[in-house]
Symmetry: C2
Subunit: 428 residues, 2 copies
């Protein structure tokens, strides 16, 4: 790494840290006004933004990127509108910062409580999706953090244009311009250096492929909010309502195939399996879902016509730990709820798991014993989402166990500190 | 590392993880009964415990350890009593596990809330202080975690005896015996292996010297709750009540000299400095505190008799970032509250800082802008302590910014998960 690069990393870090200090007493009004001005600026400059984006698209096309990539890279009027409606939603969310909780008098006479505070400097590393630039910048602004954005290099023109507008509205509202920064150069070694810069950066949020996230988590000297696998389960208990079980299974698997909260393994209680599996398997296969099933399931599915019964393959050990992210579902018959919980604990990824049952005791047992970020009763796994949970915004979904777990909204971008209000008290 | 060691590490990890699964639905009653039985067992076996401890002491004396070390290693009747009263206190604390918060209906009809859950497997690494064995084991048990204890090798006989009693009461209460394990061998390479074992261990809490904690944090592949520096400040504002300012400064510095929440740097607003500094400096020096002061302070202290005025040395840049942990105090005169906050932000360790002021606006500004684990108004920094904060128990003090910050009690040993209660809802 050459000297210029080192200087650049240092400058980004120091600028961000200084801006964070100034952000610490930014008022809710100031922050909301900046968000509202940003929406206005995006509207007024939409032509400029789209023009900059077209430069990125042209280059990406020349470089031979595929259609899906170009699609994610594209800013059209619809993307502009969705950026702006995201900003409106964020303005309407309560400001988490400064909230004081549990302020209680202690025997010594001091009042002790907690105050919610921004985390500090957040580094967000993401792919060439320029809509994330506004999303992430706005979430960090509202939560009082300073952010360093490192989007995919193919979106650099678009991002530069967008961040220019961010800086403009920060300035206009007497907020530090460097509260939102973009990594200007595209040299990958910069990321390697930034994720080690623990003196200046407090948190890393990588968004993208699993290998990128794993690499960052391994190399970083700073806490990382990470999202790894989503091997989600539905367990159909023998006390399940069969209509609910069918609807929820179909919805969890097929409402969208490639999201992290999509169902990957269906567990069915042995006692009920003959009643539900033939019909359910048929419905799934008619919806084009490939089934990989345990021996017992295969036996039951034999009841179906040859066309379908022969289509269900026998699952291998590998299937239970695979996140297909496509139209494949593994199915296993288990003896009871305890076996289901054991299977989830062994093969699951602690993301999202749901039980279908009308039995209160078993519902509570599942809630208690399944150690996942989201545990559900009689609901589709597809609900594991910041908007569905009422967070109003989402910076990502975390598979960490500490700090932020599951869908991460504004509060996940904050921490707390203890506050002590005294009147001259000393310790005796 | 030989094969036996590797097997041992694996066994510890797998045992702990399996125990944790069983702990997930341990009832409050079960856990409290185990704690109560443990107190009883410690009482009944106090002679055995003290005998085992005497073996450790003899060896440590033979190995030439100093008196302070032996003192920390010793279990006498007083230590036994204090272990038992700690257990009683813990039994009386509410169980954090299973607590459901913010359960709210969302537009889709699902109810979404959070449930407090244990973290999983906790590795605690500490020095040869066998009282920590019971403290840590009991806190982890009450919070539903499985714990692997790695105390200093000089206390191995004592710890083995104590953990034997822990396992006995776990078994008696139908709880998994491996929820509390001790690292049996004293080979240091085991620690190096354990702190990388992220498949089985969820959290590391090192207690001990800074170099040990830094090394573990650097090498670990698992989150670490760490305690680094405690460079604590008191800022005497120009709107301070001088009696409160004097009492709080003296108490923060001298009530105990070597604790992490002891005052290390005193900041005084210039406007009030001539009124308070001469008297305060004299009182401090009479209490045997060595002063290292800025030029302006030195000028003011000149008013004192030669004996005292000459004793105050000029501080160097190094003093502002030193945690003395002894009878030394650095003093700096600052222009105003903003300069004080800037100094704290530049030189502090984000541990504990207190402002002395009667001005409400400045008190609030300090609370908001000082980015430390504990921020105080008109109170001694010595209050930064789990018991003083009403936590009822303390596993340590964290200087982390995420998850647990400041004094860490039972709740710091837990995390949350999302729970979703539906009635057949699917996403549309």
């Amino acid at each position: 790494m050459n000297k210029d690069m080192k200087l650049l990393v240092k400058k980004l870090g120091v600028n961000a840290k200084n801006s964070f200090s100034q952000m610490l007493d930014a008022s809710t009004l100031q922050k909301n006004q900046a968000l509202s001005d940003l929406s206005e600026e995006i509207y007024k400059n939409s032509e400029r933004i789209i023009l900059a984006n077209e430069m990125d698209i042209l280059q990406a096309e020349r470089d031979g990127f595929d259609e899906a990539f170009i699609d994610r890279l594209t800013i059209d009027q619809k993307v502009i509108d969705s950026m702006r409606s995201g900003l409106s939603a964020l303005i309407n969310l309560p400001d988490p910062v400064g909230k004081i909780d549990d302020l209680r008098e202690q025997p010594s006479g001091i009042m002790v409580g907690s105050m919610r505070v921004p985390i500090g400097v957040v580094l967000i590393i993401y792919e060439s999706r320029p809509n994330v630039t506004i999303d992430a910048a706005a979430l960090c602004l509202k939560s009082g953090n300073a952010v360093i954005l490192r989007g995919g290099s193919e979106s650099l023109n678009s991002n530069t244009e967008l961040v220019k507008l961010c800086k403009k509205v920060l300035k206009k509202n007497a907020l530090p311009q460097n509260a939102i920064q973009i990594v200007p150069k595209t040299d990958r070694s910069i990321v390697g250096k930034l994720i080690e810069y623990s003196e200046m950066i407090d948190l890393i949020i990588p968004r993208g492929g699993k290998s990128l996230i794993e690499k960052i988590s391994k190399d970083a000297l700073i806490p990382v909010i990470k999202h790894l696998d989503g091997i989600c389960h539905v367990y159909i208990d023998d006390d399940a309502d069969l209509v609910k079980a069918t609807n929820i299974t179909l919805n969890s698997k097929t409402q969208r195939l490639a999201t992290c909260n999509t169902l990957e393994t269906l567990l069915i209680s042995e006692k009920i399996s003959k009643r539900i599996l033939p019909k359910l398997a048929l419905m799934l296969m008619k919806k084009n879902v490939e089934l990989r099933v345990c021996e017992k399931s295969k036996e039951i599915i034999k009841a179906l016509s040859f066309e379908y019964s022969s289509a269900a393959k026998i699952a291998t050990a590998r299937d239970w730990k695979t996140e297909y992210l496509s139209n494949i579902l593994s199915i296993k018959i288990v003896t009871n709820i305890e076996a289901a919980i054991k299977h989830i604990s062994k093969y699951g990824s602690q993301h999202t798991d749901s039980i279908i049952t009308e039995n209160h005791h078993k519902a509570m047992l599942f809630l208690r014993k399944v150690d996942s970020a989201s545990v559900m009763v009689n609901a589709s796994t597809r609900f594991a989402d910041g908007f569905q949970y009422g967070l109003g915004a989402e910076i990502g979904i975390s598979t960490n166990k500490l700090h932020a777990r599951g869908p991460v909204g504004l509060e996940g971008l904050t921490s707390v500190k203890w506050i002590v209000l005294g009147n001259g008290q000393i310790r005796v």
